[in-house]
């Protein structure tokens, strides 16, 4: 445990040092550098001028982008398509909310504890499910999540069952994870997404990530060249679980109400996988793209069709899922990536094709 933390701290500091070193004025002329910087600037500086409505959409986009990125670690890169990730989301949401409800414990602490509990849950789920392949794995994760949902639903004395738990709004209180303006929530959600993307990036460029991708493609071959598939999958799932749980806590703190059907439900599990499938499984930015596409679509349909057509959003989600799977199973990211590369190549300052 200690060496893991030391390793993480060292690794992150090396990254920051590298970032600082490479950050000289000449590099700023390269579109590969200034495009992302511009995007970051937009994300940081524009929102204060947006209305509550648009901020709300952005919060949801980044919340679900972060959750989708977390799923992507084990589901996309690892090829272990879980339809039970709501188990971690719900566990995070309920842990922080119950600790706050019964003991007035700060949800930040609750978030941390929720993540820890999710890691423990992930050991159990991994032990049960990783021995299974293909559809059996998918169904078993689904079943286990449903069992958990049922437990939460029926332990009314603890969790209030189907009535759900609400969080009383006490006004601006950063320690209690409550803010009067949506902007703060937005920055936190953005931060969560950036953390999730960064963690994914670190994993993917390491031995762990490489082994994970290898065993996702051919487990027998990976084991034959020394990959401890059980350990690799367990670690990836643990990381994924912890991040997903953090998103669950944020959800609870933002929506102020949780109930078993929403945070432990199969629709949520499906949605978590959907972001990566639409955006591109096993790609770094896929889930973010997927979250943007899906949330914008959701807002558009509920704004235009409103109450009269309950269910239309899910028809569109389902239809999109089917279409992606049939036509573009690799998701939108590869295509958008190529498009991005082409634009960057023709931007001023580009070093594409030029000798350095």
């Amino acid at each position: 445990m200690k060496e893991a933390s030391a390793f993480i701290i060292k690794s992150v500091s090396i990254d920051f040092a590298r970032l600082g070193k490479g950050f000289n004025l000449t590099s700023l002329t390269n579109p590969r550098i200034y495009f992302p910087l511009m995007a970051l600037a937009l994300l940081l500086l524009v929102p204060p001028f947006l209305s509550r409505y648009y901020l709300h959409i952005l919060v949801l986009i980044f919340l679900f982008a972060a959750a989708g990125e977390s799923w992507n670690i084990i589901g996309g890169y690892g090829g272990q398509f879980s339809l039970g990730h709501a188990a971690f989301f719900g566990l995070g949401a309920y842990t922080s909310t119950m600790l706050f409800h019964y003991f007035e414990i700060s949800p930040w602490l609750g978030m941390f504890l929720g993540a820890l509990l999710s890691i423990c849950l992930s050991w159990g789920i991994g032990w049960l499910c990783f021995r299974l392949q293909g559809p059996y794995f998918v169904i078993s994760t689904l079943a286990l999540c449903e069992v958990l949902r049922y437990l939460i639903l029926t332990q009314r004395w603890l969790t209030m069952g189907a009535t759900g738990l609400s969080i009383k709004f006490k006004g601006q209180n950063p320690w209690l994870f409550q803010f009067t303006d949506k902007l703060t929530y937005y920055y936190i959600a953005l931060g969560l997404t950036l953390i999730a993307v960064y963690v994914t990036y670190k994993i993917v460029s390491s031995r762990l990530g490489h082994s994970l991708v290898a065993l996702g493609q051919n487990q027998a071959a990976a084991e034959a060249v020394g990959v401890n598939s059980v350990k690799v999958k367990q670690i990836a799932l643990a990381v994924s679980a912890a991040l997903t749980a953090m998103c669950g806590t944020f959800y609870a703190q933002y929506i102020f109400f949780i109930d078993p059907d929403t945070v432990f439900g199969l629709s949520l599990s499906t949605e978590l996988a959907l972001f990566a499938i639409i955006g591109g499984v096993g790609t770094l930015w896929g889930p973010v793209i997927g979250a943007i596409v899906l949330r914008v679509l959701t807002e558009f349909t509920s704004a235009n069709f409103g109450e009269g057509l309950a269910g239309i959003q899910l028809v569109i989600y389902g239809g999109l899922l089917m279409a992606m799977v049939m036509i573009k199973p690799e998701g939108l990211a590869p295509m958008l990536g190529r498009f991005y590369n082409r634009i960057v190549a023709v931007m001023p300052g580009s070093t594409h094709g030029k000798a350095n």
Binding site: A214, A220, E223, V227
Partner: protein, 247 residues
């Protein structure tokens, strides 16, 4: 080469495996001498791949013993056995299809190091050893059969093995490709890797092996020097006159 006397790197004693009603492997024993090439032949369905699966921990035998480099490796998982220095290739090439050739080999290199730069360096070196360096950026799915075989070798070599189990490396190759593969295997052996090779192709295995063993219906028929084995009437009988396959 270090040791004054040649010792047995791999010792398999009385290995037995049953699948339902079928006795797939029956009290099979053999030794692989360090630094040499042992050829294992036998008709189709004799149990050669099953034997490899037993040795590398994919299946558990009902009885018997496997000692590798002085260690009892029975019951260990495949990845642990690989770390001990015993690696295997597959009868049907098993590349990581969506990865590049280089990344494929890096997976093996990661067995010995956790640093991505080191892994890449080692992978490149292994690719050069097998002659695939030019294909480093190609996606594995697009390789020809012979190149996929070479990829299997390179990936196995990246794990710094003391012994490699080669399963039917010549299957699907034409004459020229066979020759190239034989030369490659010999080269790898000369660099110090012990090899146990399973093969259908008689001519190839005769030119490769320092000594041979014959398996039929799960049991060992005979063993010894290549010329002895090939002239043994029991072996000819086991093949029912198939004798020499075209190389």
């Amino acid at each position: 080469m270090g040791r004054p006397t040649s010792m047995n790197l791999l010792e398999v004693k009385n290995l037995s495996k049953r699948f339902g009603g079928l006795q797939a492997i029956n009290e099979f024993s053999f030794n692989a001498e360090e630094g040499k090439i042992l050829g294992l032949i036998g008709p189709n369905g004799a149990g050669k791949t099953t034997l490899f699966n037993l040795i590398t921990g994919v299946y558990r035998p009902e009885s018997g013993n496997v000692m590798f480099d002085g260690q009892d490796i029975l019951g260990m998982k495949p990845h642990q056995i690989c770390r001990f220095g015993l690696c295997r290739t597959f009868q049907v090439a098993q590349p990581f299809s969506n990865m590049t050739v280089l990344k494929n080999v890096m997976t093996g290199a990661y067995c010995r190091t956790s640093d991505p730069a080191e892994a890449e360096e080692k992978a490149t070196a292994c690719l050069q050893r097998v002659g695939l360096a030019a294909q480093a950026g190609v996606t594995a799915r697009e390789l020809t059969t012979i190149d996929q075989r070479r990829l299997e070798f390179a990936r196995a070599l990246a794990t710094d093995p003391k012994l490699i189990l080669l399963d039917e490396s010549m299957a699907g190759l034409n004459h020229a490709e066979c020759e190239i593969t034989i030369a490659l295997i010999k080269k790898i052996n000369e660099q110090g890797v012990t090899i146990v090779v399973v093969e259908h192709n008689m001519k190839a295995i005769l030119s490769l092996s320092h000594y041979m063993a014959v398996i039929a219906q799960g049991s060992k028929i005979t063993e010894g020097l290549p010329q002895e084995v090939v002239n043994d009437s029991r072996v000819v009988e086991a093949y029912l006159g198939k004798g020499f396959t075209k190389c």
